[in-house]
């Protein structure tokens, strides 16, 4: 898909407002309109139009909640595998079938496949990894759960106007 950069400063201002704190109010888009800088005079209807367009253009992936797995009684981990070129496709297909595997990337390293798992327990994660080993024959597979979290953030402040870096 072609990359469409976000060029409009009002779009950026709206996105900066609603990446972390989409209003939990009856009329969220009215709240957004009230919170925008006073020089941006757009109302609820226009904000809805803009957000719809940003979704249609593929700039917004989704609007919703993101959770701490541990607060919902789930555990998570990062895994890495060393997979040779000819087994890559089959390995990726096998891994991607598990609903708890939410992210999976090919990375430039001898450990070339990196994926995350969210599951109800450590035992579930071990079972998923055993099943992957069994189905693919790939055994150089590391399970790297976090032992300490220093930072988790998924908010990207979009530079607007003269502040663009």
């Amino acid at each position: 898909m072609p990359v469409k950069p976000i060029t409009d400063d009002i779009d950026k201002a709206i996105l900066n407002l609603i990446q972390s704190d989409f209003p939990m109010e009856q009329r969220p888009f009215t709240c957004i309109s009230d919170t925008l800088a006073p020089e941006i005079k757009i109302g609820e209807a226009e904000i809805i139009q803009r957000v719809k367009r940003l979704k249609k253009d593929g700039i917004i992936r989704r609007i919703g909640g993101n959770f701490s797995p541990d607060r919902l009684g789930f555990v998570s981990t990062l895994c890495a595998a060393r997979v040779d070129e000819q087994h890559l496709k089959r390995f990726a297909e096998t891994v991607n079938q598990f609903p708890g595997i939410t992210h999976n990337y090919i990375r430039e390293n001898k450990y070339n496949v990196w994926f995350t798992i969210i599951a109800p327990s450590r035992k579930h994660i071990e079972d998923i990894l055993s099943s992957i080993r069994e189905k693919t024959g790939i055994t150089d597979l590391m399970n790297l759960p976090a032992t300490r979290v220093f930072k988790v953030r998924a908010h990207f402040k979009l530079p607007t106007g003269d502040t663009a870096a």
Partner: protein
């Protein structure tokens, strides 16, 4: 653990919310609840940190941060707390975790770094290295996205 009501609402807002004047009313109708109940439960989940972030998820490649790199660092265990703190404070670092090292993979600290291009990611890694004195690290650029989804919790709770 979340209550049955909380699970129902979590399952309803973990996907994509409707873009309408009253999205919570639509969600409430679907769940056979009142708008007020949905909002109360959401605010409570948010205040308690069960909801980590509530809002828009952007496609990275469209947000100007086109490149990202996972950087794995080999840090002296005695310094992990201090180094992790310094790295986490950098605004280009979105995620920072300690993980146990493996025999074949000696790294124990991980950061996700975002920049406009790969050269930018490398520069940030170099600067973090200089700042912390940790000079053994691997920069892992992503070459292909094989899967990227949101976890679907409690899907069977909706009906």
């Amino acid at each position: 653990m979340p209550t049955k009501l909380e699970k129902k609402i979590i399952a309803a807002i973990q996907g994509d919310m409707p873009v309408t004047k009253r999205p919570y009313l639509e969600i409430a109708k679907r769940l056979d609840l009142t708008e007020e109940t949905v909002l109360e439960v959401l605010r409570d989940l948010n205040n308690r940190g069960v909801i980590r972030r509530f809002g828009v998820t952007l496609k990275h490649q469209n947000s100007g941060f086109r490149a990202n790199a996972m950087v794995a660092w080999r840090v002296d265990e005695a310094r992990v707390e201090a180094v992790g703190g310094i790295m986490a404070a950098h605004q280009a670092v979105s995620h920072c975790y300690r993980r146990d090292p493996m025999e074949q993979w000696p790294y124990n600290l991980y950061t996700m770094i975002h920049s406009t291009d790969e050269a930018g990611c490398k520069k940030i890694a170099e600067s973090l290295s200089t700042q912390t004195g940790v000079d053994d690290y691997a920069v892992l650029f992503s070459r292909k996205e094989l899967k990227k989804t949101s976890m679907q919790y409690f899907e069977d709770e909706i009906d």
